[in-house]
Amino acid sequence: MAPDMLLALLWKALVQTVHMVAVAGLIGTLVGLPIGVFLANSGRGELFAAPMVNRIVGLIVNATRSTPFIILVVAIIPFTRLVAGTSIGTSAAIVPLTLATIPFVARLIEAAIREVDRGLIEAARAMGASRWQIVTKVLIAEARPGITLALTLTLVSLIGYSAMVGAVGGGGLGDLGIRYGYQRFMPEVMAAVVVVLILLVQAVQSAGDALARRFDKRNRQT
């Protein structure tokens, strides 16, 4: 394949991947973060104590997480059509990606929030903070390094998942690799796709790590 054509294909696929990952990551976080905060604080005697709801939400989260992604993609096609108006293409692929991201983010955020010292909640309550203020000013603020790492992991996983949505014509780098590199046997396309994916994942991970380190004031030495 001519280099300029390969480049054009790669660029288009990269844009599609970034598009899918960005939208699914954003919506997945917007929905998953509050669920994660809820899961971390709704046990018995906790800030939003609702043990029953906690258990039910936990079950749904677990069920979604244990469904293999490719099965999820196919199983929710009717829902995808309802939301995206179509079941084919990049926009359609975003629906199952988002759906898979929500429980993933929720569990990671839950873990990050649970890392926050309970004594800080106590101190904030003693100051007269409302539950909303405790969440925003204490829990999320203190868990920021952990949340940053959680979202980094989410993006990296999303890049991997996005390679699978070629099945519904989602496009993107993974799809390019399969169609050209594998089905049409063009190893140079496959190699280029792998290199771009590695660079992409590296970039996301390094940025996330650097950000988390900047947020983390727990072990600062001077």
Binding site: A123, A124, A126, M127, A141, K217, N219, Q221
Partner: protein
């Protein structure tokens, strides 16, 4: 030794009447606990654990009151009732006349802004600087940025951290962290400061500096302080009032000086025995008998306080009884700011010596307690 020195054992002298005086009772207390009980459901679900078994206590305004007890006595549970972090199972807690249990969520948050709290493990936000931590309660109260700044700056000065405003907690020592905790607790200008073992994680020297700071705040801002601790030293050095809690009950309370110089309850005595200078060496305790025979020596504890603490009484006692007097152990100290001395001496139980000693005690008003007789 207990059987000999504990009241109502014979031979225990009565204190000078001045020390018997009741503490001045303020018109209305800052905190009143009225028949407060607290039960926790056991982990299993069926059984119940009684953490507080009916507490009645008044915390006077403007004073530093200490609640002391062993681990698990219910101290934290008790103090957490004051700002509604915990609710009593029965009974009521009044803060400046307001029943904490009767407040709705919004009113309770309002009350909490009038009640500062400091903690054993400081509970500072690691993500915020010294300035940011002190500003937090003000942000929560909804003050403007400018108003916050005007409030925080003098507080940082007050606790002596002017050069650390931009530092994070991880960059501070334990004592400095507690200073931030204190400044944070003072930010909303509370009328009551609660302290849950605020110095228990600190070394003795740092403890003293934090206690001095609390004393200063109490004196200069007129802030009522209620502190709980398991360390007698803490109560002794700053609390003018004390309550001793044991197994969920207040077993003794009153002016610290009175309670410490004449402990009535077993728990108080046990807690006090940890203080240096109050305990006889074991070797001597073992030799003591309740009655003296010929040639025996009498072991007597002399307690100095009030006016007697400031006179050269030991020298005079020695000249009065001749070279007979043997000093066994002793301490000179302050309890809640009042000088206090305790000295255990032995001298011949010969009737002539005894009558000279009695005459001297009667003349000087020294408080004495016969511990026993021995060789």
């Amino acid at each position: 030794m207990h059987t000999v020195s504990n009241p109502p054992a014979p031979g225990r002298a009565v204190l000078p009447s001045g020390a018997e005086m009741a503490p001045p009772v303020a018109a209305s207390p800052m905190v009143s606990f009225r028949g407060v009980t607290k039960r926790f459901a056991d982990r299993g679900g069926k059984g119940e654990f009684i953490a507080l078994a009916g507490v009645d206590l008044e915390v006077p305004k403007g004073a530093i009151t200490g609640i002391i007890g062993r681990s698990g006595a219910g101290k934290s549970t008790l103090i957490r009732l004051v700002n509604g972090l915990e609710n009593p199972t029965s009974g009521s807690v009044l803060v400046d006349g307001v029943d904490v249990g009767g407040l709705d969520e919004t009113k309770l948050r309002g009350l909490r802004r009038q009640v500062g709290m400091i903690f054993q493990h400081f509970n500072l936000l690691s993500s915020r600087t010294v300035y940011g931590n002190i500003a937090l309660p003000l942000e929560i109260a909804g003050l403007s940025r400018a108003a916050i700044k005007a409030r925080v700056a003098p507080l940082i000065d007050l606790v002596g951290l002017s050069d650390k405003a931009g530092r994070y907690p991880a960059e501070l020592s334990g004592g400095q962290k507690q200073r931030v905790g204190i400044a944070r607790a003072l930010a909303t200008e509370p009328k009551l400061l609660l302290s849950d073992e605020a110095t228990s994680a600190l070394d003795p020297e740092t403890t003293q500096s934090i206690l001095d700071l609390l004393k200063t705040i109490n004196r200069d801002l007129g802030l009522t302080v209620l502190l709980i601790t398991h360390e007698m030293e803490v109560v002794k050095s700053i609390a003018s009032e004390v309550a001793v809690i044991d197994k969920g009950l207040i077993v003794e309370s009153g002016r610290t000086f009175d309670v410490f110089t004449r402990p009535r309850h077993e728990t108080t005595r046990a807690l006090l025995s940890g203080l240096p200078g109050t305990k006889l060496p074991d070797a001597i305790t073992r030799r003591l008998k309740a009655d003296g025979g010929t040639g025996d020596r009498i072991y007597t504890r002399l307690t100095f306080f009030g006016a007697t603490a400031e006179q050269p009484l030991i020298a005079r006692l020695m000249s009065e009884l001749g070279a007979e007097v043997n000093i066994i152990t002793g301490t000179i100290d302050e309890i809640a700011g009042e000088p206090y001395g305790s000295l255990v001496v032995s001298y011949s139980a010969d009737p002539a010596v005894l009558s000279r000693a009695e005459a001297f005690y009667a003349q000087t008003g020294l408080s004495t307690e016969v511990l026993g007789y021995g060789a």
